[in-house]
Amino acid sequence: MEKTHTPKKVFVDGPISPQFISDSIAKHQSKTNIGAHSLFLGQIRADQKDGGVVTGIEYTAYTEMAEKVFHDIREAAFAKFDLVCMHIYHSLGLVPTGEVSLFVFVSSAHRRASFEALEYVVEEIKAKVPIFGKELIGETGEYTWKENK
């Protein structure tokens, strides 16, 4: 029987602040069985589009399904890799250019598991979680819908 983990709150309103990220790191100082942390921070790019530059992304989600999928991704990552703990945070609402909208934080005893798990979790999130993004362009109210490649 696999160890199961209780569902955790993933969504946060607006950008994920550097303070939130550093507090999250600090909370792990007491977990002395950890020898390696890997972090991924997804940041909003100022892409050039027809009609102007991207100024931010407004995220929405099918939240009930998204929370289930995040939970399944966590469970699968714990089953696949030798991890001590994992945290995933994703923004909803407006995240301006240059700010962080995705924070994935995996910890393990040794580096290899955290490197591999981090890539796995980020790719799974991009492919499977029903999150939608409106890329706001310029100052005129124009936008396009983002699509993960």
Binding site: Y62, L102, P130, F132, K134
Partner: protein
Amino acid sequence: MTISILYFGMLAEATGHPSETWEATDPLSVGQLREQLLQKYPVLRDRKFQLAVNQQIADSAMPINTNAEVALLPPFAGG
């Protein structure tokens, strides 16, 4: 039978609403519902979307039961 349909992102914009109650014949497969949706909303014909039934991605053969929650999901953009 009655099912509820949810539209997300660009699809809510294209259909003009985020959700609706749908009266459907029983039995109904995901593929049949997709056809009916395209008839009601021709604008969906040139949009990419997946269907989720009760919060699980569904293939076209899957049957839909009464009171199901069916969601139309445009391409994902998380991260």
